[in-house]
Symmetry: C2
Subunit: 118 residues, 2 copies
Amino acid sequence: MTDKDTTLRFDPAFDANGLVTAVVTDRTGALLMVAHMNAEAIAATQASGEATFWSRSRQRLWKKGESSGNVLRVVELRVDCDQDALWVIADPAGPACHTGARSCFYRRVDGGALVPLA
Amino acid sequence: MTDKDTTLRFDPAFDANGLVTAVVTDRTGALLMVAHMNAEAIAATQASGEATFWSRSRQRLWKKGESSGNVLRVVELRVDCDQDALWVIADPAGPACHTGARSCFYRRVDGGALVPLA
């Protein structure tokens, strides 16, 4: 057990790029998407109540739904033992995936093949 | 939409360290842990049916439960749109967290404080 495991102080363990992993599910536990947050994105998420990430490809703050309107309203934020991952429980206003799928996880892995989920 | 979004070929988008993010939930959608897999870990997971990760801290292949016995039996493996994250749906043989908690996410974030979950 380390201090990160037991502390009641929120002290994210950012990686070399200043990021933690952010996992988004809805209230039922359906995994919607995985993205990353830096300190600024965490602060924006907490202030607005809508999930905001750091876009690694665009290298900028990215509020989910800023263009599509499909925001993720935060119900609860949780952190893992070593504080390098966040669990965002959210009510999605629409599809979470840029493909239009409800979840980014719309294919299961079967060996080297992918099978679309019903 | 890109080829990664639509292909039915499993072609993980490894990062500069050769890793993808692996999110583990149980069948109910409870988020148990977040870790990383390299190609070897994915192959071991698929071959054994038990979740195997790449330990970044120890820089070695790490079968979850190898010492504790708390293995994660894989029910289904899913991949996200851009294939840089995996969703491992698993039956846990015991606590997923090294602290003894069922899930690594045993604290919610309230501003700058953490609140233990019941």
